[in-house]
C-alpha cells in the first residue's frame, strides 16, 4: 500500500495525525477536536491494498461509556459452548439459528434486556434489491443471496414478508433518458433481478399517488419489506427452540488469548470457554474484534432517523419509492450539510409490513455508538425532504420517530471473514444497511465455516418452523372465533389501535425468549405501536405482565434495567420506596 499517499491525504485534513502501517492496516492516532475531521481522516485512509483502517484518533474530551447491565452473577461460569456469539442483533440471532442446525452447543450473549434493540430494531425493514452497491463488495454478494432467502425464511419463522417493489423516481427528462438506462445496465451487471423501466402512466397503475414531477421510474420488483425486530426475535426464538441458548443482560468484558487463540471470554455473568467466538457486536464490533486481537477495521457510528406515520396515511405509498438524487432537490427540501450524505440512498417513502408509512432515513456521522436520541432539525429536515416525494406529507401525520446507529466501517463494506490474527474468531462486523437483507446469507456462510472448523454434523431434528400465534386481527372471523373458543383471552382487546388481544400478550410472555417488559411485548405483538402510542394500553400491559409473572406492577420495566415505570403504591404509609 502507498502509505505516503495516504498520509498526504490525511495530513491535508489534520497535519497532527500520525499515519502508520500496523499488521497490514492503516492506523491513525492522535487527538483532534472535531469529529468531522476524525471521520474525514478515516475516509482518507481507505486503501484497497490495506486490510482496513484503524482510526484511533481520539476526540478531545469525548467519552462515551458503553451501556452495561449492572447485573453480576455466575450463571454462565465455566460454560464451554462450541460457539459463543457476541451480540443479539439480527446478525447474532441469524447466526444462532443457522448454527442451531448443527449438532453443537451455541451460546449467544446480548448486553441489553432483549435481542434486536440496537440498529436491528431501528431501521426501515427494507429487503434491498442491491442496486446501490458495487461489484466486489461483500454487501452485494450477501444482499443478492439474502434477498432471495427472505420469502422462505419468513414463512418458516411466521413473520410477515411482502415483496413490495422499490421504485427510483425521476424528476427530470435527462434522468429518465440517461440515468434510467444506466441503472438498468448496472442492475444487469450486478445481477439484480426483475428491474424494469416504468413510464409515469405505468407507475400510476402501481402507485396511485406518485409525485407530480414524475418523468419515469426504475422499478425494482425484487425489493421487499419485513418487520426487522420481529424477524430478529423470531430468529432467536427458533434458535432457542432448536437448542441454542440466549443470555440477555450479558456483556463481554474481556478475552484471554493464548497462542493466537481465544481461551476464554469474561462476562458479567461468569467466564465462558468457547471453541469459537463469532463477533456480531454491531456498533461495538470493532471493540470486540480488538478484544479478540483480530481488529482490522473501525466502526464510525452513523445515525439515521425514520418517521412513522398514522395508518390513515397509508395511501401515500403502496410500496416504497424515493426520488432520484441525481437532479438537485428543490431549495426548500435541501438538508443542512452533514458529513456523510452520500452514504445513504437519501431515504424515501415506504409502506411498512404493518401498514404504516415510514419516511426517512437521513444520515449523520457522530462519535456516539449508542446515542439514539432524535433532534428537531433531523425530523423537520426529513419532512421537508420527503415532502418532495410524498407531497401531502405533514408533521401532523407523524405518530412517532426513532433513530438508529449504523455500524459503518470506513471501507463501507461488511467484514465477514474468519480470523486473521486469531484462529478461533469469526468476524461478522460492520453489518449496517443493508444488514437486515444480508444477515441470513452471512449466517449460512458462517455456519459452513463453523461446521468445517469443528467437524460438526447436521442436527437431525432441527425444526426450521417457529411455533407462534398468528396476529389475530389479520385472521378471518371464523379462524379468530376458534382461537377465542380455545382461550377467551384471545377475545379481549387490550390495544385498541393495533387490535392486540390479551391472549397474544400472554403468548409473548410464554414464548421461548421471554422478555417481560413493556417494550419487549410491544416489539413482539405491537400493543402501543399505534396512534395513541400506548396511552390507553400501557397500564393494561403493565398489569398483565405483573399478573402473569407474579410481580408487582412497579417492578415491570419499560425496557432495559433501570427503566422502571412506577414508584410503588401511592398509599399504605409511604411504601413507595424507589
Amino acid at each position: 500500500m502507498n502509505l505516503k499517499a495516504i498520509a498526504k491525504r490525511v495530513h491535508k485534513i489534520a497535519p497532527s495525525v500520525k499515519v502508520e502501517e500496523h499488521r497490514g492496516c492503516v492506523r491513525l492516532t492522535g487527538e483532534l477536536d472535531s469529529w468531522d475531521a476524525i471521520y474525514r481522516c478515516g475516509v482518507a485512509a481507505v486503501s484497497g491494498k490495506s486490510l482496513g483502517v484503524l482510526n484511533d484518533i481520539r476526540l478531545k474530551g469525548f467519552v462515551e461509556e458503553m451501556k452495561k447491565p449492572s447485573l453480576r452473577d455466575r450463571a454462565l461460569e465455566g460454560k464451554r459452548p462450541d460457539v459463543l456469539i457476541v451480540g443479539g442483533g439480527i446478525m447474532g440471532c441469524a447466526l444462532a439459528r443457522e448454527l442451531s442446525r448443527l449438532d453443537i452447543s451455541v451460546l449467544l450473549i446480548e448486553k441489553a434486556n432483549d435481542v434486536g434493540t440496537g440498529a436491528s430494531s431501528r431501521n426501515d425493514g427494507c429487503i434491498h434489491p442491491g442496486i446501490d452497491l458495487h461489484r466486489g463488495q461483500l454487501k452485494l454478494h450477501y444482499v443478492l443471496r439474502g434477498n432471495a432467502m427472505y420469502e422462505g425464511l419468513c414463512k418458516e419463522l411466521g413473520c410477515d414478508f411482502e415483496r413490495w417493489a422499490q421504485t427510483f423516481m425521476f424528476s427530470t427528462k435527462w434522468e429518465r433518458y440517461i440515468i434510467a438506462p444506466l441503472m438498468l445496465l448496472k442492475g444487469k451487471l450486478l445481477g439484480v433481478p426483475d428491474m424494469s423501466f416504468k413510464t409515469p402512466a405505468e407507475m400510476r397503475e402501481l402507485e396511485p399517488h406518485p409525485p407530480k414531477w414524475l418523468t419515469g421510474a426504475v422499478y425494482m420488483a425484487s425489493a421487499g419489506v419485513v418487520s426487522p425486530y420481529k424477524v430478529t426475535i423470531a430468529l432467536a426464538e427458533n434458535a432457542i427452540e432448536n437448542g441454542a441458548e440466549v443470555s440477555l443482560n450479558t456483556v463481554a468484558e474481556g478475552m484471554e488469548l493464548k497462542d493466537g487463540r481465544i481461551v476464554s471470554v469474561r462476562t458479567n455473568r461468569g467466564t465462558v470457554y468457547p471453541k469459537i467466538v463469532v463477533n456480531a457486536a454491531g456498533a461495538y464490533s470493532d471493540v470486540i474484534a480488538e478484544m479478540a486481537g483480530d481488529r482490522t477495521f473501525t466502526i464510525h457510528p452513523r445515525k439515521g432517523t425514520d418517521l412513522i406515520l398514522d395508518k390513515k396515511k397509508a395511501y401515500y405509498a403502496l410500496s416504497s419509492f424515493a426520488r432520484s438524487y441525481f437532479a438537485p432537490l428543490p431549495p426548500e427540501a435541501r438538508e443542512e450539510s452533514h458529513a456523510a450524505v452520500g452514504h445513504t440512498k437519501g431515504g424515501g417513502v415506504m409502506r411498512t409490513v404493518d401498514g404504516n408509512i415510514l419516511v426517512g432515513p437521513n444520515a449523520v456521522e457522530q462519535p456516539y455508538r449508542e446515542d439514539t436520541s432524535t433532534s428537531l432539525s433531523d425530523v423537520m429536515s426529513i419532512i421537508r425532504k420527503q415532502k418532495v416525494a410524498a407531497e401531502e406529507l405533514s408533521a401532523a401525520d407523524v405518530i412517532t420517530y426513532f433513530s438508529g446507529v449504523r455500524a459503518a466501517t470506513y471501507e463501507e463494506d461488511f467484514v465477514v471473514r474468519k480470523g486473521i490474527f486469531t484462529e478461533n474468531v469469526i468476524e461478522t462486523a460492520g453489518i449496517q444497511s443493508p444488514g437486515i437483507t444480508a444477515a441470513p446469507a452471512i449466517a449460512c456462510d458462517v455456519r459452513d465455516w463453523v461446521k468445517e472448523m469443528l467437524g460438526a454434523k447436521d442436527k437431525k431434528d432441527f425444526d426450521p418452523v417457529r411455533k407462534h400465534t398468528p396476529r389475530l386481527a389479520g385472521l378471518s372471523p371464523k379462524e379468530r372465533e376458534e382461537y377465542i373458543r380455545r382461550d377467551p383471552a384471545y377475545g379481549e382487546i387490550v390495544c385498541r389501535c393495533e387490535e392486540v388481544s390479551k391472549g397474544e400478550i400472554i403468548d409473548a410472555l410464554d414464548s421461548p425468549l421471554k422478555v417481560c417488559t413493556v417494550d419487549g411485548i410491544k416489539r413482539r405483538v405491537r400493543p402501543g405501536m399505534g396512534r395513541c402510542q400506548g396511552g390507553f394500553c400501557s397500564p393494561l400491559v403493565v398489569k398483565i405482565i405483573a399478573e402473569h409473572e407474579g410481580m408487582r406492577e412497579e417492578d415491570v420495566l419499560k425496557g432495559d434495567e433501570g427503566s422502571f415505570i412506577l414508584y410503588g403504591d401511592t398509599k399504605k404509609g409511604g411504601e413507595a420506596d424507589k
Binding site: 377475545g491 395513541c532 412497579e554 433501570g562
Partner: protein, 415 residues
Amino acid sequence: MKEYDVIVIGGGPAGLAAAESACKAGAKTAVLEREARLGGILKQCVHDGFGLIRFGEKLAGPEYAERYIDLVEALPVDTYTLTFVTEIKKEKDGFAVTCVSREGMLSFRTRALVLATGCRERTAKQVLIQGTRPAGVFTAGTAQNFVNLMGKLPAKRCVILGSGDIGLIMARRLTLEGAEVEGVYEVKPEPSGLTRNIHQCLHDFDIPLHLSHTVTRVFGKDRLTAVEVAEVDDRMRPIKGTERVVECDALILSVGLIPENELAESLGVKLDPSTKGPECDQTYMSTVEGVFSAGNALNVFDLVDYVSECAADAGGNAARMLPSGECVRLEKGKGILSYVPHRIDLAKPSDRVVLFFRSAKDMDRATLRISADGKEVYKKKFAFLRPPEMQRVEIDFSAFGLNAKSKLTVELEEN
C-alpha cells in the same frame, strides 16, 4: 345475529346518556363497550366538579358515571362489555356491526348508530419532543390511570407540559399524593384549561405556570432524568438561548385531545377539521344517514354535563330517525374557533337547537351573531369568552325563515 334499533358504541358518559334516551324513546338499544366496565374515562377522574348542571350537585367522576350506569341498568338496554368493534358495514336500512369479545365474534344489526367513542390524548412525539426514549414520559390520562385506578405513583418530581384541564388536575393530584410538580409549561401565551382549574389546582398548591414555554427535549437512557424547557416566540417556536434543563423523573403531557373517529371515517363520515369530529345537523346526525355522533368524539367538551346533554339528544334522535330533508350549512364567520351543529336540516325540528361554540381567542365583551342572507337574525352578548371554555346557547332557527338557499353564518364580534 342480534338486531337492535340503536347501537351505541362506547359506554362512557356520552354512550350511557345516548343509550338512556334512545331506550326511553322506545328503541331497542345496546351499548358496546370495549373496557371491562362501563363509565369510560370518568372512572379515573376522581376529582369533583361533575354534574352541577345535570344533577345540581358537585360529584366526583366515578359518582357521575355510576349514576348514569344505574339509570341505564334500570332500563331494558343490553350492555356488552369487553366488546370491541372491529368492523361496521353500511347495509340497506342499517348497519352490520362485527365485534370481538371473550364470548367469540359477535354480529349485530342495527337501524341507527351512535358513535360515542370519546377521544385520545396527543402524545409527546406529536408535539415533536425530541431526545431519548426513556420510561417516565406519560400523557396525563395515562398518569391518571396509574394513580387513580392502579394506586401507583408514576413520578416523584415531574414537569407537566400543557395546561389542559387534565394536566392541571394531575398537577394537583400528584401533589396531593406526595409528588413534586416542578412546574406546568404552556406553549401558548394563555392557559389551555379552565380558569377555575388554574386557580384550584395550581395556585392552591403554589405550582408555577410558565406561559409561552415548551419542553423541547427529554434526557435519560432508561428512566427520564431531566427535560429541556425553552421560551417560545409568537409562532410557538423555541427561542435559542432560553433553554434550561430541569431535573425531574417524569414528563406529563396534557397537550390536547383528539376525537376518536376511526370507525366514523370507515363509514365515510365527513369530519370537521376544527372540531376533528363528524359534521352534524341539529340532531347530531353525521353526513351518513343513520350515523349519530355524541360526546367527545363529536367535539371535545370541557364539561361532562354538556356531553350528557348532547349525547341524550343524539340517542333520542337516533331512536326517532327523523327523515332528512334539505339542509342549510352554518358557515364559520370571524372570531369563532369551532361549533356544532354544522348544518340545520329544514325537515327536522329546529326551534330549540343547542349551539356549542368556542371563541377563537380571549374576548372581553363579545357578541355572538347569526345572520341569514346577510341579515342579523340572532345575537347574544357575553361578558368574556375564552377558547378553552365552551359556550352553550339555545337558538330557535325555525323563526329565521330559512330555505334551502339561505346563507347562514355564525360569528363573534368583540365590542
